[in-house]
C-alpha cells in the first residue's frame, strides 16, 4: 500500500510539470498565432508544422527530446510543450482568422489601429476557439506528463512505471487514478468556465 504522503509529492510534481508546460504553451502559442496573421510565410510554416506534428505519436516526441536536450524536468517540460502548443496555435489561428471580413473592414473604417482591431475585434471573437484549444491542451499536458516520467521528469508517471516494472497493480493504480481524477476535474471545470466566459451575444 502506498501511503498518501508518498503520493503527495508525485501529484504535486505532476501538476507543476503539466502546468508550467501548459502556461508556456499559451504564452508562446497565442502570440505566434497572432503574428502569423500578418505574415503569410510564417503562417504557412506554423500551420504546416502544426498539422504534421499533430500526427506524430506522443511517444516519439518524448523520445526525441532525449538525444536532443537530455533527460530530467526541463526536457520533460519541452516535450509536453511541444504537444500542447499545437492545439493552442491551431485553434487561436482559426479563431482569429475565421472572422467576417466585413467586420474587419468596418473596424478599419471607424479608425481602429491594427492592434486595436486585434484587441477589440479579433480576440473577443476568437475566445471560444482559443478556450477550446487551451482545454484540449490542458488535458493533453496531463496525459503527456505521465509519459515523461520515462525521461526522468518525476511525477505520477514515476509511480506508474515503478508499479509496471515491479508488476505492482496497487502502485500502478495509485499513479493512474489521480491522473484520471485530474483529467475529469479539468474537463468539468473547463466546461463550467466555458459557459460563463463566452460573451452573451455569441452563444
Amino acid at each position: 500500500m502506498v501511503s498518501l504522503e508518498l503520493l503527495g509529492t508525485p501529484v504535486l510534481q505532476h501538476i507543476i510539470l503539466a502546468y508550467i508546460a501548459l502556461i508556456a504553451s499559451i504564452l508562446l502559442g497565442i502570440p505566434l498565432a497572432i503574428l502569423s496573421l500578418y505574415s503569410r510565410s510564417l503562417q504557412k510554416v506554423v500551420m504546416v508544422m502544426a498539422n504534421l506534428m499533430q500526427a506524430v505519436p506522443t511517444f516519439a516526441v518524448v523520445a526525441f527530446v532525449v538525444p536532443l536536450i537530455g533527460i530530467g524536468f526541463w526536457p520533460a517540460i519541452i516535450a509536453i510543450l511541444l504537444r500542447a502548443l499545437l492545439p493552442i496555435i491551431k485553434n487561436t489561428w482559426v479563431g482569429l482568422s475565421s472572422l467576417d471580413p466585413a467586420l474587419i473592414a468596418s473596424a478599419e473604417g471607424i479608425g481602429l489601429s491594427q492592434w486595436e482591431i486585434i484587441r477589440y475585434v479579433r480576440l473577443p471573437n476568437a475566445y471560444p476557439a482559443i478556450f477550446a484549444g487551451v482545454k484540449f491542451a490542458a488535458i493533453l499536458a496531463n496525459s503527456v506528463a505521465i509519459l515523461t516520467a520515462m525521461i526522468g521528469s518525476g511525477g505520477l508517471g514515476t509511480v506508474v512505471f515503478e508499479g509496471l516494472a515491479g508488476v505492482n497493480m496497487m502502485k500502478m493504480m495509485s499513479g493512474a487514478l489521480p491522473a484520471i481524477g485530474i483529467a475529469l476535474f479539468l474537463d468539468t471545470s473547463f466546461g463550467w468556465l466555458e459557459k460563463r466566459m463566452v460573451p452573451p451575444g455569441m452563444k
Binding site: 505519436p57 516519439a60 538525444p67 509519459l147 508499479g163 509496471l164 493504480m173 487514478l177 484520471i180
Partner: protein, 211 residues
Amino acid sequence: MIDEIQTVWIRYNLTERTIEHLQIFTIALLLAITIGVATGLFLYRRRRYSPPVFSTLNAVQTFPDIALLILLIPLAGIGTVPTIIACVLYSILPIARNTYTGLISVGPELLEVGRAMGLVERDILMKIRFPLAFPMIAGGIRIAIVFTMGIVTLGGIFGAGGLGAPLQTGINLMRPDIIFVAGIWVGLLAVILDGIAGGIEAELKRRFGSW
C-alpha cells in the same frame, strides 16, 4: 549514416516491428470504424441516448492514455489486446460523433425532396443521409488514425510490440541512434497515414460536399 540506420534497423528487427505495428493499427482502426459508425447510427436512430453516450465517451477521452492502459490490465492484461481496446475506446468518439453529426445535418430541402419523391425512411437513410455524411465520417476516421497511431506506439511500453518497443529500448539505453531511427520512422508513418486520410477526406468533400 546509412550504415548506422541499417545496423539499427536490422539489430532491432524494425521490419518485423513495423509489420507488427501496422497489424495492430489496422485491426484497431477497423474495429473502431465498425463500432464508431454503428454507434453513430444507433444514436441517430435513438437520439435520446446521444447525450449520455457522448458525454461518457468524452470523459473516457480525457483519460491519459497510459492511465487507460493501466485500467485495462485487470481486465485484459498487457500486450496487444488491451492496446487495441484502448485505441478503440479513444477512436469511437470522433467516428461516432462525426457519423451522428453527418447523418443529422443533411440539408432540410434534400430530405423534403426525398420524402416527396416517395422514398421510405430506409432509402432516405441509405441513399441520401449516409452518402452525404461520408466526408464527415472520413474526418472522424482521420482523427481516429492519429489517436490509434499514438496509442499503438505507446503499447510498446505495455508489451504490445510494434515500433514503441525499440523507442523504449532507445530511451532506456540512452541510445540516440535507436531513438532517431525508430522515432523518425514511426513519425513518418504517422504523417503519411494522416496525409492519405486527409487526401481521401478532401476528395470525399469535393465529391459529396454541398455546393
